[in-house]
């Protein structure tokens, strides 16, 4: 670097950390305000020796840290509770404990980034390409194994001889004058060059974009994740009504499906007749299905004592005279079609299973209202079983 004849300051090199701390203290004591210390590594005690106040950087960190907390909490509130509310794991929309880790991470992220960039940009004034100390023998030494101190020429107390004497009396091993460098213009920062760069960048980007995405577009191999078939809920380009999911053609019945003629009628005038004989197998099947699908509300014995403990309206008992007098088809109709608060179970239980449930309900009704003769019959049967 070429130097002007304008003096920047006088530097001194010291050869151990104790003497540089001592020197910094003396320089402060002499009343110099504009000076700096350069050491190859941070020295404990240097801040107080130089009379430096606490850095204000902490406030930048604090401000951005809190901004991060506030931003991310509001963002999660907006995205998870307002814009796209979704129940996850049965938690409330605004599930604070689940958001805390993200809040913490984001707070730390913003605080750390603001600290680093705040330090570099606001406190170090970087990029600073033509600092007078750059490219000097002094800087080469203090970045390796010497401890340097520089007093600037624009300090009010600055007098060349006095500063030199002060340094020598403090035990400096080398004292040097540093001049301001010639103003260097960097061709890289030239306006024309930058405009040229921007134009080239825009042109290359545009060319690349159109070449790859328009002129030479090629479908990348997508591992069959995209196929021509129509998936559920998808819009159809084939059918006029644009529905991908089709209704069956009117008047047809799916194979293996027996339609129920009274679907959707609350009180049909007549009922089906039970086609399933109350065999042991049918009753066992009915019992299994009853305990799975019916008992949560009706109770295990169909007493209407719901296992849901009043969290859902309890249905009436199936042992009332009215229910006993129902024809099989009527009970089958309630299961298939639903009644009052009870929804249709046609989707959960098949036709045969529904009739088996009816058979099982008959068994429950009979057992709850057993006559003396029934009991005699059972005793006879069980004693005959024992004899076997």
């Amino acid at each position: 670097m070429d130097r002007t004849d304008k003096l920047f300051g006088i530097t001194a090199l010291f050869d151990n950390p104790d003497s540089i701390i001592n020197a910094a203290k003396k320089v402060v004591g002499e009343g110099y305000k504009k000076f700096d210390v350069n050491t190859p590594y941070p020295l404990h005690g240097m801040d107080s020796a130089m009379g430096l106040k606490n850095s204000k950087l902490g406030f930048v960190t604090l401000f951005f840290g809190f901004s991060g907390t506030a931003f991310i909490l509001l963002f999660m509130y907006w995205s998870m509770s307002i814009d796209y509310p979704m129940v996850i794991g049965g938690k409330p929309y605004f599930a604070l404990p689940a958001f805390i880790p993200i809040t913490f991470e984001f707070t730390v992220l913003l605080a750390a980034l603001s600290t680093v960039f705040g330090m570099i940009i606001a406190f170090f004034n970087l990029p600073f390409n033509d600092h007078p100390l750059h490219d000097t023998a002094y800087m080469k030494r203090v970045s390796v194994d010497r401890y340097g101190l520089v007093i600037l020429a624009d300090d009010l107390l600055f007098e060349e001889n006095k500063v030199r004497e002060l340094f020598l009396s403090l035990g400096a091993i080398e004292v040097e004058k540093i001049y301001y460098p010639e103003k260097v213009t960097y061709p890289v920062f030239d306006a024309k060059f930058i405009t040229f760069l921007i134009i080239v960048a825009a042109a290359v980007s545009a060319l690349t974009y159109f070449t790859l995405n328009k002129f030479m577009y090629m479908v990348p191999y997508n591992w069959m994740s995209e196929q021509d078939k129509v998936i559920p809920q998808e819009k159809s380009v084939f059918f006029a009504d644009k529905f991908g999911m089709r209704e069956p053609v009117e008047g047809t019945v799916a194979r293996g499906f027996i339609p129920y003629p009274y679907m959707g009628i609350a009180e049909p005038k007549e009922y089906l007749i039970n086609p399933v004989l109350p065999t042991r197998e049918s009753i066992a099947l009915g019992k299994r299905k009853f305990l799975t699908f019916c008992s949560p509300c009706h109770g295990n014995q169909a007493d209407g004592d719901s296992r849901l403990r009043g969290q859902f309206p309890s249905p009436p008992s199936l042992h009332t005279q009215r229910a006993i007098d129902f024809p099989d088809g009527r009970i089958y109709h309630v299961i298939t079609n639903g009644q009052n608060a009870m929804p249709s179970y046609a989707a959960q239980v098949t036709r045969e299973e529904r009739w088996s449930i009816v058979n099982y309900i008959r068994v429950l009704q009979r057992s709850k209202n057993a006559t003396d003769e029934d009991i005699k019959e059972i005793k006879k049967e069980s004693s005959s079983n024992v004899q076997k």
Binding site: H44, L62, P97
Partner: protein, 396 residues
């Protein structure tokens, strides 16, 4: 550097300090005995809280001593002896635990064989939670702690006279062993004395939770003692406010660590929402305990966190003194919050009792008496420790 050139002059604490300690101890013990006569079950819960605090203080302090040896820390060398003095409570733990062993039926639900036999969960845990094994393992733990206390501190004190640097080397090896044993024993202590109050519940992070409070409490006690002793001129004049910086930082760090651990425990249980895990938090959310839980977050985390957040606060003696007292109280409150809701499991409703204030008084008196005894006998600083001069020269 091993010469005694620190300028330290040995000066025991005044007789007044001892008298005050003895008075507190006597009053606390007398009222404590009355408490045990009036209502042994309620008293034993209060006693357990103070007992756990003593473990925190004593064993946590010994942990700090061994941590300094192991990590080769320099900044804490001038204060190491104070932690050693607090650790001087360790040999007495085994005696102090005796009343608890006699009231185990009042404290621990799982000690009743009728209950265990009718409870499949407790039956399954019986091989660990049974009285003989509980007593034996805890007595062994107290003995191990006592052993390491003597092994480490005897060498530390011997160095005051001989200045032999090899003693530091031996202590580093001992500390390695202690840190390893500490991690296991402090977990067992936390689980045995506090988690087993509600034996159905379990949390694998509980040991770490107790550890975080333990070290926090030990740092606070150390800070309080250092600030007060320096104010009264018992330490060397060369100490600066810079020396406080790491104490403040460590208290701050463990505030955050506790928050991290406590929240980890809470969030995992909250998220999984399994009845056998959430019950513990429900016991701390029912009735007035809800307020106690919220206050715990504020007292144990938010206040110390912001009180110590700024750089100047960590070197300001006044602020540190206040925060240290605050932290000691907060740790006691934390233990109270851990232990007291367990009373429901022991078959009685919780209510605040005067007994909860009696045992802490006795405990403070006890620690003061031990501390004064120690200052009478030993130097307040490790005067010939090879790291002492570097520790004193420390500056920010």
């Amino acid at each position: 550097m091993s010469k005694n050139d620190s300028g330290y002059i040995k000066r025991p604490l005044p007789q007044k300090f001892l008298n005050l300690g003895l008075a507190l101890l006597a009053v606390g013990l007398a009222l404590g005995i009355i408490a045990y006569i009036v209502d042994p079950q309620r008293a034993s819960f209060s006693y357990l809280t103070s007992f756990m605090f003593l473990i925190s203080l004593g064993v946590g302090s010994l942990f700090l001593v061994s941590l300094e040896y192991l990590a080769g820390a320099v900044w804490s060398t001038p204060f190491r002896r104070i932690s050693e003095f607090f650790a001087g409570t360790i040999p007495y733990l085994i005696i102090i635990s005796i009343p608890l062993l006699f009231t185990m039926h009042d404290l621990f639900h799982w000690t009743h064989s009728a209950v265990v036999n009718s409870d499949a969960v407790l039956k399954g845990k019986e091989s660990y939670l049974n009285i003989p094994f509980f007593v034996v393992r805890n007595v062994i733990i107290f003995l191990i702690w006592t052993l390491f206390y003597y092994l480490i501190t005897i060498r530390s004190r011997k160095q005051d006279e001989t200045g032999d640097q090899a003693l530091t080397g031996t202590n580093i090896k001992l500390s390695t062993g202690f840190i390893f044993i500490f991690s296991i024993t402090i977990t067992i202590s936390g689980v045995d004395w506090m988690m087993s109050l509600e034996p159905h519940w379990y949390s694998t992070i509980f040991g770490v939770y107790y550890f975080s409070g333990t070290v926090w409490c030990a740092f606070a006690a150390l800070t309080l003692a250092v600030v007060l002793l320096r104010e009264k001129g018992y330490l060397v004049p060369g100490l600066k406010n810079d020396h406080y910086y790491s104490l403040g930082t460590m208290m701050f760090a463990f505030t955050a660590f506790w928050g991290y651990i406590a929240f980890s425990q809470y969030m995992l249980i909250w998220y999984a929402d399994l009845p056998e895990e959430t019950s513990w938090f429900f016991h701390r959310w029912e009735g007035g305990w809800m307020y106690a839980s919220i206050i715990l977050i504020i007292v144990h985390f938010i206040v110390p966190f912001f009180a110590l957040l700024s750089f100047p606060a960590k070197t300001n003696p006044k602020r540190l003194k206040f925060v240290a007292v605050w932290i000691l109280a907060a740790h006691f409150f934390d233990l109270y919050w851990l232990i007291m809701p367990g009373m429901e499991q022991a078959g009685r409703a919780y209510y605040f009792s005067w007994m909860d204030l009696v045992f802490p008084v006795a405990m403070v008196g006890f620690v003061m008496v031990i501390f004064r005894m120690m200052t009478n006998k030993y130097n307040l600083m490790p005067v010939k420790d090879p790291k002492l001069q570097r520790g004193l020269d420390y500056s920010l």
